[in-house]
């Protein structure tokens, strides 16, 4: 199968790669670009840990064909921290013990970022709705919900 040239923005940086037809975005990010922050969980959209932002909107990278992001802007957890500083959401996740094994964390953070991008002061129900596509085995979700609400309210340690 011939390869397809593909260009897009990855965390603010232009990247150009060649992908096989049918390659999904998760594989392109992890194996061709080397960004290991989106995780492979189920490969069929059931767990949410592969979540990334495409032009600011939440997408499951395992169900997104790489070719469809040509010319678009992809954000992953790898681009979240601001220089040497953690993003307020990351800080809030740490403060609120919102990660245990950590496997769901990249997807949770991207889902939270997508929410706060469009709704800077969400209600608890809106937070629950925003992360409802993401499965967590360890935390019971409560610490994650509290972390996102704290970040939205600016209640985050320096």
């Amino acid at each position: 199968m011939s390869k397809i040239p593909l260009q897009f923005r990855h965390n603010g940086r232009d990247v150009a790669i060649f992908v096989e037809g049918g390659t999904n975005l998760l594989v392109a990010l992890r194996e061709l670009i080397g960004d290991m922050t989106p995780k492979f969980g189920c490969g069929q959209g059931g767990c949410g840990t592969c979540s990334v932002l495409v032009d600011g909107e939440l997408h499951l990278s395992c169900l997104t064909l790489a070719e469809t992001v040509a010319g678009r802007s992809i954000e992953t957890l790898d681009g979240m921290k601001q220089g040497p500083n953690l993003h307020p959401l990351q800080r809030a996740f740490a403060d609120h013990f919102a990660a245990q094994c950590g496997y769901c964390t990249p997807g949770m953070l991207m889902a939270a970022k997508a929410l706060l991008n469009r709704n800077p002061s969400p209600s608890r129900d809106e937070v629950v709705e925003a992360i409802s596509g993401n499965i967590c085995r360890c935390t019971g979700y409560e610490p994650i919900i509290n972390a996102i609400l704290a970040a939205a309210g600016g209640r985050v340690s320096a």
Binding site: Q44, F97, C101, I135, C136, R137, G140, E142
Partner: protein, 340 residues
């Protein structure tokens, strides 16, 4: 269609660790010339916080700041032996091994400091901030870093310690059947309130209230996190998860997260937790271990709550809507029990 509320409770007695063929874990502690300490373990931190807790135990025992201790769990081929991270044994077994190793390392550190300060080691104490000084004379002081440098480059000593904690195999008494499979037990009680829909058989969690007695909580935030999260693993086992719903035929078994159900963020309910600390005599700083016990009382409490709500007794997990509905139909309708 009616939704029936029900409340159920369960109490558990949870053994810390397993009998196995004897249940040992080892730890090694040594200082680097920088005066920082490394704890070598082959025990695995799955995210439950064992690295944090063993780090605290080591720092406290050595008498140095927690940031001066690094816990290395890198390699079970080269690290000191551990039976594994299971049966809630990490804090208790590994913690005790780390404590023993740190105690031995502290002995060497104090001897090395004594030589530098030209005093008797028994007259020295640590300040917990990285200094060792003569008791009652804080100005006669040396930093742990300088002690480490002196031990390495002048005295030719390794500041190190070995630790093992073994709960020996408990054989069964052939006459009485008596045995002691564990040396300490944690305890919990949980009350679950559920809402059962008698048309769909669905069970929704309404709230949970619990009390856990787990020895001393060495890291209260980690304990809280474990209890909050673990309860939902219990709910998940009670209501959702099963690898083989038609056991022993695996044909219809779930293959992925679409078929293998777990609670989502929209399924959770308030959960009030009280932590009771009764230090265990043989635990590191009195700790037992909150590992698995956080999930266990939830299952019987939920089953009891469902009985209380609609009068059906389901003894086969998970309690799926299908099982609830069949049982309600079999008894000719929901029969709410008295609320206590």
């Amino acid at each position: 269609m009616t939704r029936h509320r029900g409340r159920g409770m369960a109490s558990i007695n949870y053994p810390i660790g397993m009998n196995l063929g004897g249940d040992p874990s080892q730890a090694l502690v040594h200082s680097n010339p920088s005066g920082k300490f490394t704890v070598a373990l082959s025990s695995i931190d799955l995210g439950q916080g064992m690295k944090s807790v063993t780090r605290q135990i080591c720092a406290e025992t050595l008498g140095v700041p927690v940031e001066d201790v690094y816990v290395d769990t890198a390699d079970s081929d080269t690290g000191p032996h551990c039976m594994g991270s299971f049966a809630s044994r990490g804090t208790h077994r590994v913690g005790n091994a780390v404590m023993a190793a740190a105690r031995e390392a502290r002995g060497v550190m104090m001897e090395a400091a004594a030589e530098e300060l030209e005093v008797n080691a028994a007259d020295l104490e640590t300040d917990g901030r990285g200094n060792i000084h003569v008791k009652g004379a804080p100005h006669r002081s040396i930093s742990t870093k300088d002690v480490a440098i002196a031990a390495q480059f002048r005295q030719g000593k390794t500041i190190s310690g070995r630790g093992i904690f073994l709960v020996p195999l408990s054989d069964v008494d052939p006459e009485t059947g008596e045995m002691s499979p564990a040396t300490c037990y944690a305890h919990a009680c949980l009350v679950a309130e559920v809402e059962v829909d008698d048309e769909t058989g669905e069970v929704a969690m309404v709230r949970m209230d619990s009390a856990y007695e787990l020895g001393r909580a060495l890291n209260p935030r980690l304990v809280e996190q474990q209890l909050v999260g673990g309860a939902w693993m219990g709910v998940s086992h009670a209501l959702y998860e099963t690898p083989e719903p038609y056991y022993p035929d695996p044909v219809h078994g779930p293959r992925d997260f679409v078929e293998y159900l777990m609670p989502g963020p929209g399924d959770i309910c308030p959960h009030d937790i009280a932590v009771l600390e009764r230090p265990a005599p043989d635990g590191p700083f009195g700790a037992k271990g909150p590992g698995e016990m956080c999930a266990n009382p939830v299952l019987p409490a939920v089953a009891n709550a469902i009985f209380n709500a609609v009068g059906v007794r389901i003894d086969d997990l998970p309690i799926t809507p299908e099982k609830v509905l069949r049982a309600i139909k079999a008894q000719g309708g929901a029969r709410p029990q008295a609320r206590r």
